[in-house]
Amino acid sequence: MSSGGKIEGGYVVASMLVMAPFAARRCSGALSRSRVGYDFDALSRSVASDVAVAILFIAFGILVVVGALSTRMINVHDPLGPMFFPVLGGIIIVLASLVVVAQVSRRVEASDARVPMPGQELAAAALVVAYVGVFPLVPFVFSTWVMLVSCLRLAGIRDLKVLATLSTAATAALYYGFAVGMRTLLP
């Protein structure tokens, strides 16, 4: 991709940063409205979510075992070898996660998942991913200022003057702290 394309892509993602808190609010509003029509059982949702996370760990365990088995062997006097520890760990993760799936499926009260996740927290996670995505593509001062405005807006600060002042001050502090103080090569 050309540098022009990169910068253009960066500004598109940067604009997503600004919009994310507003989108999150609209999304959470829509979700709460949908609950009127569809009566989801909170307990079964937490169980499903718990099972999904356990499946994530099962996949991770399998990935570890597969990755460990492809380790290149080197002839050194070593009774266990480089594969033993990851294979053992991967198998334990898979087996323990299967037991968690069985436990949660059998006894719904065993689930200690806290769902649904608040819209603001999801939006904060999305914002940080978007910020890191644009970080190397656009100037630091711009991406950071936009990110701070978005985060502070998400955190409930409504006053535009306060938003602008806080974001500008924090961006300046970060820039001088890192680029000047620590001589970090910021984009």
């Binding site: 520890f85 200690d112 603001q120 927290e121 970080f135 950071t144 806080l166």
Partner: protein
């Protein structure tokens, strides 16, 4: 003695005092904001401390730790909002005083008990750490493996909720920690052909990601606390001295419990404060007041929580086993500076030891001075928006991780670790266990394999006195909860039969 002298010289240097004072102010502000605790406070400055000399970095982290613990008590007493879980009982006991119009009395008691707990635990740390490290130097690979196993398992056993999830978190942390070069053969493991992964996941990036990002994300979504009326400090010296005299036994109990629980891997300030609260009731002249605005209860909880911070440092520096998440972050900084934390480092680097002692001494002195001067105005910190601070912290964390190596790969590692940590944390998987297993994974595996090469026989590996004792402790700690519930069931059935 020469180390102690060097420590005092280091502690009174203007550079040390300015660093520690700045860190402590920062810690008090973070601690006073509901929901933000020492982990996030240290994680925010972690990448900056890497570039400092080792002694200074430990001093800064220790001062933040102490400052956050001190700051925690402010919203707990004034607003009944514990900054972190360790201040839950401070809120229970202290807020009743605030309702009675004696908030200043509770706030001063909380501060004095915290200072006493901290000061005494520093003395114990200075006395205990060298003998413990000297014992640990006689440990060979099998003993070190057994010691690390005990440490990790005790962290899992102390987690609340489903222990199986603790086991999964433990092995997940271990597996992420061994990504990269194998310590024995140099073969690349679990890198899946990715060049960036072949040297492993960056310790600072992973720890900052998994510990700080979930906290700040949750902080942004947490409802803003409803502010109360801050108390004005209008106490007479005689009242303060009378309260200190009255609560001295409770403070002593809190300090002892705090040091012991803090030194256990996975113990921490929360557990210490709860156990101390129970124990202090036994020595109190007014046990009926516990939970209903007891000065003894307040004093013991704050003494225990603060004493546990130096207690945590004992296994961290003497054995290389972090006592908790905060000390795991300290180990990560030492590792990032190219040092191998543990007994050998401590005993072969008297300068580092003197700086650690000096940093702790400076922290305690500053805690008293800053606390004394700052306790009045500190009530206004509670008017800051924790959500706004979390929002700024989110950006700071990302930029800090980038600043360590100017590496976007590290930043992505931190973000992925943070988001996965946030999701699994919400489902009851203990993030602290993942972090501690990650940091101990390489020494654990290396000591196991080197020990087996050394002994050339698995039986000879196990049949060593210290290994047997440590493995017995491990097995006992695994079996104890099941045994206790089995015995309770039997007793219950027996009494039902008798009835």
């Amino acid at each position: 003695v020469s180390v102690l002298w060097d420590a005092v010289v280091y502690a009174i240097q203007p550079n040390t005092l300015v660093l520690a004072a700045a860190a402590m102010f920062f810690g008090i502000i973070i601690g006073a904001l509901p929901g933000l605790g020492p982990t996030i406070g240290i994680a925010m400055v972690l990448p900056l401390t890497i570039f400092m000399p080792s002694g200074d970095s430990i001093t800064v982290m220790m001062a933040i730790f102490v400052g956050t613990m001190l700051g925690n008590g402010i919203p707990a007493v004034l607003l009944r909002i514990p900054g972190t879980a360790s201040a839950l009982l401070t809120a229970e006991e202290g807020y009743i005083f605030q309702q009675r119009g004696e908030g200043d009395r509770a706030l001063v008691m909380s501060f004095l008990a915290a200072t006493v707990g901290q000061a005494l635990s520093v003395v114990v740390f200075i006395i205990a750490v060298i003998p413990l490290a000297s014992i640990a130097t006689s440990f060979l690979f099998p003993e070190l493996f057994a010691l690390l196993s005990v440490g990790l398992l005790s962290v899992v056993m102390m987690t609340s909720g489903n222990r199986l999830k603790g086991v999964i978190a433990l092995f997940a942390g271990l597996m992420i920690g061994i990504i990269g070069l194998d310590p024995m053969t140099g073969a690349t493991r679990l890198a899946f052909g990715q060049r960036d992964l072949s040297l492993g996941v960056n310790t600072i990036a992973f720890l900052v990601g998994i510990l700080a990002i979930p906290e700040v994300i949750a902080g942004i979504g947490r409802p803003e606390p409803v502010g109360g009326t801050p108390a004005k400090i209008k106490l007479k010296l005689a009242t303060v001295l009378g309260d200190v005299k009255r609560t001295a036994p409770a403070m002593a109990v809190g300090t002892v419990v705090g040091i012991i629980i803090g030194a256990l891997p996975g113990g921490g300030a929360t557990l210490a404060s709860f156990i101390a609260h129970q124990q202090a009731r036994l020595v109190s002249k007014e046990p009926e007041l516990f939970g209903h605005g007891s000065l003894d209860g307040l004093a013991t909880v704050d003494a225990a929580g603060n004493a546990s911070t130096s207690g945590e440092l004992i296994p961290t520096l003497a054995l290389g086993i972090p006592g908790g998440v905060t000390s795991a972050l300290m180990l990560a900084v030492l590792q990032a500076q190219g040092l191998i934390p543990g007994a050998n480092l401590l005993l072969t680097s008297p300068a580092l030891l003197a700086h650690v002692f000096g940093g702790l001494i400076a922290s305690v002195v500053l805690m008293f001075v800053i606390g004394l001067l700052f306790i009045g105005p500190s009530v206004y910190i509670t008017r800051l928006s924790p959500r706004g601070v979390s929002a700024v912290a989110l950006v700071l964390v990302v930029v800090s991780v980038y600043a360590v190596n100017n590496s976007m790969f590290d930043v992505w590692c931190a973000v992925v670790a943070g988001i996965v940590g946030y999701v699994v944390g919400r489902h009851g998987y203990p993030i602290a266990v993942i972090a501690m297993a990650f940091i101990l994974s390489q020494p654990l595996e290396a000591n196991l394999r080197r020990g087996l090469v050394m002994t050339d026989d698995p039986v000879a590996f196990v049949v060593r006195p210290i290994v047997l004792i440590l493995l017995a402790i491990t097995l006992l700690s695994i079996a104890a909860p099941s045994l206790v519930s089995f015995v309770r069931r039997r007793i219950g059935r027996g009494s039902e039969g008798a009835n």
